[in-house]
């Protein structure tokens, strides 16, 4: 099975390298990595710590913390994704799984083979790590052994993240499949309550000096922190940068141990699966009238359904609310915010940011903006507007046959995305303002968030209409890369100016200009999105051609075959 999957991987690669878009996106990625590597090596003055690399010797602990932080975030993100991604289902639900699982091949072998394929497909990242680290190595004249170790450690860490993600998915799937509907309900309630308690205790501890976290975070916690794979990888990379070989021997075997452990967990819990496990879950009798139904009815009565864009908006809202209440989405959503908030708070309390000398002072008026930006970046992958049309899947025909203007459909989708992103970001920002004690003088900067959301969501709808199916999980696709860079240019760049302005009058003027810019851009994007929706065809939005019903020959496929 492993051989079959690897062959499939090679075939996919062969097909992909004929696509100009694939070549373009990967070339862009390679050039970006080279640029980063050479920037670090040749222009050290732009590095946050002046006097690099000498300063690293002087403040090794700070440098280690600075490196550990992003890697730890990556670990946290992976764990969250693993936990909240509806288990192994999303990964294994591939077109061939239902066929493979009916063959005499052991299901566990299939799962393992799929995972091996996935791990192998990530090896491109090794090349990227090589491109970043080699210029630095040349500049620092580090021994090749240390360069190899640094690349190996990054590779091991990435593989570990993959493996741990699958392991968590396997475990959570095994756990969830054992839960009765009633138990699932209780789990949701408990987790939601815990999330609220955590958020409240964070806020209270900030204002009333409960010192809850200080007591909890003892030296033992810090020792555990140092043993995390992210910290081990950071120490290995730092060892490479400082030319110190002593960190290699304890850290590298530990990292290998973590990877082996994650793979073992993945294998142990992948278990024998039946195709039924991966089929869409049928709705049971007990779900006939859930809470979401009543919410839907309430919305239907309260709001005007006559306007076309509102029909689309309310439909999406109703479906989202109900979907969230039926499965674990709402729980995932809440935890997805509660956990990073807690982590962000901990980061502020005792972790690396505090140890960077005069960071707060240096940030000055940028402080609120930087923090908001971090929150915004945390939200970016979840911007619902990008999948506005892809989410419809085969149901897009309904929107197409409705006698509704294409522009109205785009507006409806935009309204929904704006509502969801505002509703999800607003509490986060409010809590952040309280937790980080952002002074009222800096609140004016918070005004840019609604504008960013306005322009970001309209842009997302445009991308969603022109580039379906949009897969939020595939960060390496050309669509994701282009979207991200264009987003940076047209959305974030104009907004960075406001943070650089010192006096409030200029800020207000700039805000007014940005509001105008946002309104005009949103109008333009949505107009174009309507045109994109008009051109959008059913076969484009479906991930598998067979679902269209009318199977048209795929020219590219024919050519490739």
């Amino acid at each position: 099975m492993v051989e079959y999957e690897l062959r499939m991987l090679i075939s996919t690669l062969r097909l992909n390298i004929r696509k100009p878009t694939y070549i373009l996106s990967h070339t862009a990625l390679i050039l970006t990595c080279l640029f980063i590597g050479y920037s670090f090596a040749l222009a050290p003055e732009y590095f946050l710590l002046g006097g690099y690399p000498q300063v690293l010797d002087e403040s090794e602990a700070i440098a280690l913390d600075m490196l550990t932080m992003p890697l730890a975030f990556l670990l946290l993100y992976t764990v969250l994704q693993g936990l909240f991604d509806q288990g192994l289902r999303s990964y294994i639900s591939q077109p061939d799984f239902s066929i493979l699982v009916l063959t005499p091949v052991n299901s566990r072998c299939i799962v393992t083979a799929k995972c091996v394929r996935n791990l192998a497909s990530r090896l491109f990242l090794v090349v990227l790590a090589f491109l970043v680290l080699t210029p630095i190595s040349l500049k620092l004249s580090t021994p090749p052994f240390l360069l190899a170790t640094a690349i190996l450690s990054l590779t091991l860490y990435i593989e570990f993240l993959q493996a741990v993600s699958f392991a968590i998915r396997s475990i959570s799937d095994a756990f969830r499949s054992k839960l009765s509907p009633r138990a699932r309900k209780y789990v949701k309630i408990i987790a939601l309550t815990l999330s609220v308690i955590v958020s409240l205790s964070i806020i209270l501890s900030e204002y009333h000096a409960i010192e809850f976290w200080t007591r909890a975070l003892t030296e033992g916690t810090e020792a555990c922190w140092a043993l995390l794979p992210s910290s081990l990888t950071a120490s290995l990379v730092l060892g490479f940068m400082l030319g110190k070989a002593e960190a290699v021997y304890p850290s590298l075997p530990c990292l290998i141990g973590f990877l082996v452990g994650a793979l073992a967990f993945m294998y142990a819990f992948s278990g024998p699966y039946h195709p039924e496990e991966f089929a869409p879950r049928p709705f049971t009798h007990g779900l006939r009238s859930p809470f979401g139904f009543r919410i839907g009815k309430f919305i239907e009565k309260c709001l005007n359904w006559e306007k076309h864009s509102l029909i689309i908006f309310l439909k999406d809202l109703q479906l989202s609310l109900r979907g969230a209440l039926i499965d674990f989405s709402l729980l995932d959503f809440t935890l997805m915010y509660a956990v990073p908030l807690a982590s962000w708070y901990l980061l502020e309390s005792f972790m690396p940011v505090q140890t960077v000398p005069d960071l707060e002072a240096k940030l000055g008026p940028l402080r609120a903006f930087v923090k908001e930006l971090v929150l915004l970046f945390a939200l970016l992958p979840f911007i619902p507007s990008l999948t506005s049309f892809s989410r419809e899947m085969g149901r897009i025909w309904l929107l197409k046959v409705f006698p509704i203007q294409n522009r109205a459909v785009a507006y409806g989708k935009f309204l929904f995305a704006l509502t969801i992103s505002t509703a999800s970001l607003a509490p986060m920002v409010l809590v952040a303002v309280l937790v980080f004690q952002i002074p009222p003088s800096e609140w004016v900067i918070c005004m840019i968030l609604p504008l960013i959301l306005l322009i970001a969501n309209s842009f997302g709808v445009l991308v969603g209409a022109y580039l379906p199916p949009y897969d939020l999980g595939n960060h390496m696709s050309l669509k994701s890369i282009i979207t991200f860079f264009v987003f940076l240019i047209i959305v974030l760049t104009p907004f960075t100016y406001i943070a650089l302005v010192q006096d409030n009058v200029s800020r207000v003027i700039l805000l007014a200009l940005l509001a105008l810019y946002s309104a005009l851009s949103a109008r333009f994007f949505l107009g174009q999105a309507g045109k994109g929706f008009e051109k959008l065809e059913l076969r484009e939005i479906l991930p598998h051609k067979a679902e269209t019903g009318d199977i048209e020959p795929d020219d590219e496929l024919k050519e490739n075959l």
């Binding site: 239907e300 029909i311 109703q318 109900r322 006698p403 019903g549 009318d550 048209e552 795929d554």
Partner: protein, 254 residues
């Protein structure tokens, strides 16, 4: 009054280098049940998709009751009821909510909306499922819900792609009766199906499509004459003769 309810002129649809529908000129008379017949991949579904607005034609034009499906798409769509071959619906809407969504999108008057939903639920024996999620229904029941959604705004032109697939005999008969009543009231139906028996019993006129082109069009009797088969032969014989002849002439082309 317009002569034809559906009229296409040089209607073409290409997917890359593949031409799915090639310069189609089709006329469907008012108050008739017209069938599209053709082998797999002939382009029948693409024709219906273009007429309903799901797919944009590459070339040519199409009119529904005088409205251009591209330039006046909203007006044309408001008059159409389209049933695709494999309709996907919102699984976490209840049956009533789904019908309500469709009705509102088609601007069914607020005063009559609930009453009309009730009527259709009664007619198609779906009343007991009205608060059930569409996703919890069996395939046949889902098909009945979609049929209701196609008829609920009382369209003047109905486009059907393999409409009786998945329906039990009773529901199938009920649906056919509904369609006949709608035709008597002046409605027009264009149906694509592979079931020749349905065409023989149900349709007034037939257009045979092959490789995206019209092979022959007319009443059942006219088709038999065009195919050169005897009168006592079935539509199947005429269909096979016409499509075979077309294939042979295509093969002779350089």
């Amino acid at each position: 009054m317009l002569e034809y309810a559906i009229e296409t002129a040089d209607l073409t649809k290409s997917f890359g280098s593949h031409v799915a529908v090639d310069g189609l000129n089709l006329q469907v008379e008012h108050g008739s049940i017209h069938s599209l017949l053709g082998p797999n991949g002939a382009g029948k579904t693409t024709i219906l998709n273009m007429l309903s607005g799901v797919v944009k034609p590459t070339k040519g034009s199409a009119r529904i009751l005088g409205y251009d499906v591209i330039k006046e798409s909203e007006k044309a769509k408001a008059l159409i009821g389209y049933l695709p071959e494999q309709p996907a619906i919102y699984e976490i809407l209840t049956v009533r909510e789904f019908l309500s969504l469709v009705s509102r999108a088609y601007a069914v008057p607020k005063g009559t909306l609930e009453r009309r939903i009730d009527e259709y639920l009664e007619w198609f024996d779906l009343k007991r499922f009205e608060q059930t999620f569409c996703g919890a229904l069996s395939h046949g029941l889902k098909q009945r819900v979609v049929v209701c959604s196609v008829l609920i705004h009382e369209p003047r032109v109905i486009l059907l792609d393999e409409p009786f697939y998945g329906l039990d005999p009773a529901s199938g008969r009920l649906f056919k009766e509904f369609l006949r009543v709608r035709v008597k009231e002046g409605g027009t139906i264009l149906v694509s199906t592979h079931v020749l028996e349905v065409v023989e019993r149900f349709c007034d006129r037939v257009t045979i499509i092959n490789s995206g082109r019209v092979v022959a069009s007319g009443s059942l009797e006219e088709l038999k004459v065009k195919a050169g088969v005897e009168e006592d032969k079935t539509l199947e014989d005429a269909f096979l003769a016409l499509t075979r002849r077309r294939k042979e002439s295509q093969e002779r082309l350089p």
